[in-house]
């Protein structure tokens, strides 16, 4: 497979054979090595063969191989001639990140992180097999699937401003509960309000460095040392089941012959099954938004209890990493509505777009990129150039480079906890094994991923933030 260097941070697989469009990879020479080490490029190439794909099959700087589509992949399709694919969204529908600001400085919280984490741990169940503290009826769950974070606010979790500061205002309007199976509902019911496990986490952070003071101020960052809270989780078992159900349904209707990879199964966007999946996906998106809304509310409650006040704990933004949505983009000089799939990628819109909250519209959309455990995370702002470069998308975090198996061999959870404590970072986890698997060394270098995102024009760095306390499921 030919790989052409376009510039320092851009590579291309030219159109060839069954490819309908080229594939474009945003990576440094250094990051490209890990992209080439697994099936990412083959997957990007396979995506480029799908019907109705527009412009290019894009690969973000933190990409690594996924199921069918690469993680860190962006692909947009014409809604009339193109397809929708569960593999292009991911199993963990609306895995995403929420960032809250506070009025606290690191000194105010010093010595209290253990207490804060213990409080949050009590209110926000985390880890494998943990059920939520909220008991819901199936009827209410269906309401949540339709209304998303709006339901949560209506029921006392947070404020209307939180909704304004959430992608899609916390609710995808095309959601329908009817297409979400009983099995998916059964999985989702006990898990509402929980963090999950694996790479999901909650961090109390402090601003390490502000690189764009004007954007930082607009987003609510006051100064270095300011305390923030970051919440990273998705749609739990419900989303995974929706993905699985529709992969099976699409197989049954369309068959798998001719697919280079079964996880590339898709349906025409306008077909009954394509629409059914889209609406069920929206429902799962809403579940995840409601979940993050509930968790954020509980975190505010804990801050108030432990520190005396949650004043100033406003939401900066909440972004999706795994989603498909209809967006207007320019293709061949004309504005078109496209079904944009982002799997392990973040929307990164610049100033002026109506999807960006009014309060931020002059500056652009906040882009939250979490680092791996104990390393830095970043707040970026979307750019106007990103639309032409990647349908307004950028990286979502630092992809894994080491298997869980290998990480378990090399790292001990307790040692990681000591090492973090040595750096002043408190860690609360349900499983030492889970901690070892999530060792920072198992991931790509987030500083490099973000540097390249900026160099490629996909986003502009606003601030670098570092953890003070980490809670892992």
């Amino acid at each position: 497979m030919e790989l052409k260097r376009i510039d320092e941070t851009t590579w291309e697989i030219p159109r060839d054979g069954a490819m309908r469009v080229p594939a474009r990879i945003y990576a440094s020479h250094k990051l490209l090595k890990s992209v080439q080490a697994d099936q990412t490029l083959i997957q990007a190439r396979n995506v480029a063969c799908l019907p109705g794909i527009q412009r290019m099959s894009y690969v973000m700087p933190d990409a690594h191989q996924g199921y069918g589509f690469p993680i860190g992949g962006v692909a947009a399709f014409d809604p009339d001639e193109g397809i929708i694919s569960p593999g292009g969204v991911g199993y963990d529908i609306n895995c995403g990140v929420r960032l809250l600001r506070t009025d606290y400085a690191a000194e105010d919280v010093a010595g209290r992180s253990k207490e804060l984490l213990a409080g949050i741990f009590n209110e926000v169940p985390a880890g494998v097999g943990k059920s939520g503290v909220t008991k819901l009826s199936p009827g209410v769950l269906r309401e949540i699937l339709v209304k998303g974070a709006e339901w949560a606010v209506e029921n006392g979790y947070g404020t209307a401003e939180d909704l304004r500061m959430t992608e899609e205002q916390g609710r995808m309007r095309e959601a329908e509960a009817a297409g979400v199976s009983a099995r998916a509902l059964e999985r989702g019911l006990p898990q509402i309000g929980t963090l999950g496990s694996g790479n999901h986490f909650l961090e109390i952070q402090k601003v390490d460095r502000i690189l764009d003071p004007a954007a930082a101020k607009t987003f609510g960052l006051a100064a270095e040392g300011q305390v923030l809270v970051m919440i990273h989780c998705g749609s739990r078992g419900l989303g995974h089941q929706v993905a699985s159900d529709y992969i099976q349904a699409m197989e049954d209707v369309f068959g798998v012959e001719g697919l280079p990879d079964r996880e590339l199964i898709h349906a025409p966007f306008r077909s009954p099954l394509g629409q059914s999946y889209y609406r069920a996906m929206c429902a799962a998106v809403n579940y995840a938004f409601a979940n993050r809304q509930m968790i954020a509310h509980r975190v505010r409650g804990v801050f108030e209890k432990v520190l005396g006040s949650a004043a100033g704990m406003r939401q900066i933004y909440d972004v999706c990493h795994n989603v498909a949505k209809l967006e207007n983009h320019i293709v061949d000089g004309r504005e078109k509505s496209l079904c944009v799939h982002r799997k392990g990628a973040t929307r990164s819109f610049g100033p002026g777009r109506r999807e960006v909250p009014e309060a931020y519209r002059a500056v652009g959309q906040p882009v939250i990129i979490p680092g791996s455990m104990g390393t830095a995370s970043y707040l970026l702002v979307g750019t106007p150039e990103a639309e032409a470069l990647s349908f307004g998308s950028t990286a979502h975090g630092a992809g894994r480079v080491m298997s869980r198996h290998e990480a378990l061999r090399r790292f001990r959870g307790e040692r990681i906890r000591e090492e973090l404590a040595g750096r002043g970072i408190e860690l609360k986890a349900t499983s030492w094994k889970g901690v070892a698997e999530e060792a920072a060394e198992a991931y790509k270098d987030v500083d490099e991923v973000v540097r390249v995102s900026q160099a490629a024009g996909l986003g502009r760095i606003v601030a670098r933030v570092v953890p003070i306390g980490v809670m892992k499921g």
Binding site: Q65, R187, E263, V401, S403, K433
Partner: protein, 141 residues
Amino acid sequence: MEKYRILPHTADGKFRAFGATLEEAFAHAALALASLMWDWSKVEPAMSLEVEVRGRDREQLLYKFLEEIIVAFETRRFLLGSVEDLTIGEEAGAFRLRAVFRGGELRPDTELLGGVKAVTYHEMKIEEDGCGWTVQAVVDM
């Protein structure tokens, strides 16, 4: 014959299961998946669950079969300990699998080793050779 082998994989769980028959390989694949979450050999078989799935081909059958373990865990707090009476038949152009899961209930002191969230078709293989059947699957964790 070893029942299964856990393989390295960057992001998730990967295993290969073996059996003299297709049914045996499927049963061992179930144990392999369970082993990523708990020690199935320590589970007291207090409960039984009847499982029946249909698939258009063997791969879909395996996918749906293994998914039953995840669903039983998440919705009934069921921990698989052993798989019994597993049969695979062909019916009206499709495959049908029946089995009995024996196991126990998740307790507060149960040690959980990881969370399997979904089965995938990624690198899935179901192959027969001279020695028997090998089943390979990658699961999302």
